[in-house]
């Protein structure tokens, strides 16, 4: 489904703010999400991603600014909005007193759906989540990946127009992550609008059409992954590991080889459009690096450039 330019946005936030006491968790952000897109909030822990998601999910009243979700105000129409959302919270909140299937059946009842409809959907959703075999077992002994898939399956029982996923794959092993991404791709193809948060840049690059980079409650950049990379980084990055405890000492010796050099505790990052050429010159200068790696620039590099910090500390 392709968004029409005159479609009203599913989410529209202006100057959206959240305070907890004196602390400002979300500091006046502007966001617009259109129907059919996959939109991401990328940022490190504490950036204010979950606080933003909870406001959009109508379980946390905004402290300031305006927010419209599906064209409605969460303060006055919270229940109606929630009825059309699917929510996957950062921590699973499955009902451990119920079986896998019952988790979906009961959740569907919270949306006021008829029992026969839910039963049918439950079977499909368990299939989708690859949990059909475990349907009548209790939730508690499931693996982390299975619980995450069940949480996602459960969030789809009301056939939401907008699916909100807060760190959907954090804590999962690589295999489980890829399996989940695959499910999310399928959802997106079927027309569900996805909004997700992540601190994995590869997740953001894989899944998001458009994203905002958040740090300290503010939005520091916005665009498609490719746009962001081309705007804030070079095409390639040369990573240099040198035989030293202080990589800073070498910065001046290579700074002419790159558009920009970032110094990390254990390596230097040289931003250049031709990494191999730069690596060759490094060797010619006799710097004798322990290792060199030429790679494509990622959102991690964008984040580093914008904030001076890495995404995962």
């Amino acid at each position: 489904m392709v968004a029409q330019p005159d479609d009203p946005p599913l989410i529209a936030a202006r100057g959206l703010t959240k305070h907890f006491g004196d602390f400002t968790a979300v500091d006046g952000i502007d966001v617009e999400v259109r129907r059919g897109e996959a939109f991401g909030f990328l940022g490190p822990n504490g950036a204010g991603k979950s606080s933003t998601m909870r406001m959009i999910g109508c379980v946390s009243p905004p402290s300031g600014g305006t927010l419209r979700v599906l064209g409605m105000d969460p303060i006055t129409h919270g229940s109606q909005i929630r009825g059309r959302l699917g929510v996957v919270p950062q921590r699973d909140t499955l009902d451990e007193e119920l079986t896998v299937r019952e988790n979906i059946l009961v959740y569907g009842r919270y949306f006021g759906l008829p029992r026969s409809v839910i039963r049918e959907r439950a079977t499909e959703l368990l299939e989708f989540a690859q949990l059909s075999e475990r349907a009548d077992e209790l939730v508690e002994p499931l693996s982390g990946g299975m619980k995450r898939r069940l949480t996602i399956a459960r969030s789809l029982v009301n056939e939401p127009e907008l699916l909100m996923l807060d760190e959907p794959t954090t804590g999962l092993d690589p295999q489980a992550r890829h399996a989940l991404w695959d499910r999310l791709f399928r959802l997106k193809r079927s027309g569900v609008t996805l909004v997700l948060t992540t601190h994995y840049m590869d997740e953001a690059e894989q899944l998001c059409d458009r994203l905002v980079v958040m740090d300290g409650g503010r939005i520091v950049a916005e665009g498609s992954p490719r746009q962001l990379i081309s705007e804030h980084s070079t095409r390639e990055v040369l990573e240099l590991r040198l035989a030293t405890d202080d990589h800073e000492l070498y910065e001046a010796k290579v700074s002419d080889l790159a558009t920009r050099v970032e110094v990390l505790p254990d390596r230097l990052l040289l931003y250049t459009d031709d990494g191999d050429a730069a690596a060759k010159i490094v060797h010619e200068r006799g710097l004798a690096p322990l290792s060199t790696l030429v790679r494509r620039a990622t959102l991690e590099d964008v984040f580093l450039h914008l904030t001076g910090r890495t995404l995962i500390d």
Binding site: V59, S60, S79, Q80, G83, T93, D95, L98, Y110
Partner: protein, 278 residues
């Protein structure tokens, strides 16, 4: 489709859920009651144990001890068998205990550990549905107990009047008052230790609310304290109905319990909102 879903019990959940009338603004609460019934299926044994406790009390205290005590003053100098005196109080106390258990311990567990309400509040249900749903569930379970108890009382000849039938809705009203107040207080509890305060207030009320001996046996000064407790009003109401002493005076008891329940449930909903919708 699972075997569970096809079984007639699936339909029973639905019918039970429909039996509960829900106030405006909490129409979705029914879904939470259904959830609780479902979660309870695997623990039906605890349901059965709750059925027997007041019956055991009735026979050991009312019938056993009652044989030694003989007759007591039921008010206004009318003398009745001790069993007939104590049975209504046991019914009221059972309603109180059941409601307190569901609305404090169970709610605390869900609030603090299972995070049930966090998932519920992400759906169209709101804090008011959570409060109404939990309290309705406590009442549904309590009604099952009080109906059984009343049957035992009636069969043993301890009920003196057809008014006794009204003891069942009365027990539900007592449950409403205690469940609402209990749930409201539970939202303030920080740890399991705080539940000692619940025990400390419930036990003396159970023993000294003109439950086991008449109000006239208390010293004058204490009679006021006894009459201030909610269980006194609950027990007096059930007793009057079972003995057929029905008069306008009973309205005071009803109003006391209704007020307690309404204040409690309103407060409980506000507190759930304050705690979870931050």
């Amino acid at each position: 489709m699972s075997a569970l879903e096809r079984s007639p019990r699936g339909g029973a959940v639905q019918r039970l859920g429909r039996m509960v009338p829900f106030p405006a603004g909490a129409s979705m609460a029914r879904a939470l009651v259904e959830r609780n019934i479902r979660a309870y299926r695997s623990r039906w044994i605890t349901l059965v144990s709750g059925l027997f406790e007041p019956v055991f009390y009735l026979f050991s205290l009312g019938v056993g001890l009652g044989a030694l005590i003989g007759q007591v003053d039921a008010g206004g100098g009318r003398m009745i068998e001790y069993a007939a005196y104590v049975a209504p109080a046991l019914m009221a106390a059972a309603a109180m205990n059941g409601a307190i258990f569901d609305a404090t311990f169970n709610v605390f567990f869900k609030l603090k550990y299972t995070k049930l309400y966090e998932s519920v509040l992400a759906t169209p249900l709101g804090p008011r549905d959570v409060a109404v749903g939990e309290i309705a569930w406590a009442l549904l379970r309590g009604s099952l107990y009080s109906t059984t108890f009343l049957l035992v009382v009636a069969v043993s000849g301890m009920a003196r009047s057809w008014w006794a039938v009204l003891a069942i809705p009365t027990a539900t009203l007592i449950g409403f008052a205690f469940a609402s107040a209990g749930m409201a207080l539970t939202t303030f509890m920080r740890s399991w230790q705080d539940f000692e305060y619940v025990n400390i207030s419930i036990l003396p009320m159970f023993l000294f609310s003109a439950t086991f001996f008449p109000l006239s046996t208390y010293p004058e000064a204490l009679q006021w304290v006894v009459q201030a407790t909610p269980l006194y009003h609950g027990a007096s109401l059930v007793r009057s109905l079972m003995l057929g002493d029905v008069g306008v005076g009973l309205v005071v008891h009803v109003l006391y319990l209704v007020m307690m329940g309404l204040v409690g449930i309103t407060f409980a909903a506000r507190r759930v909102e304050r705690l979870l919708l931050t």
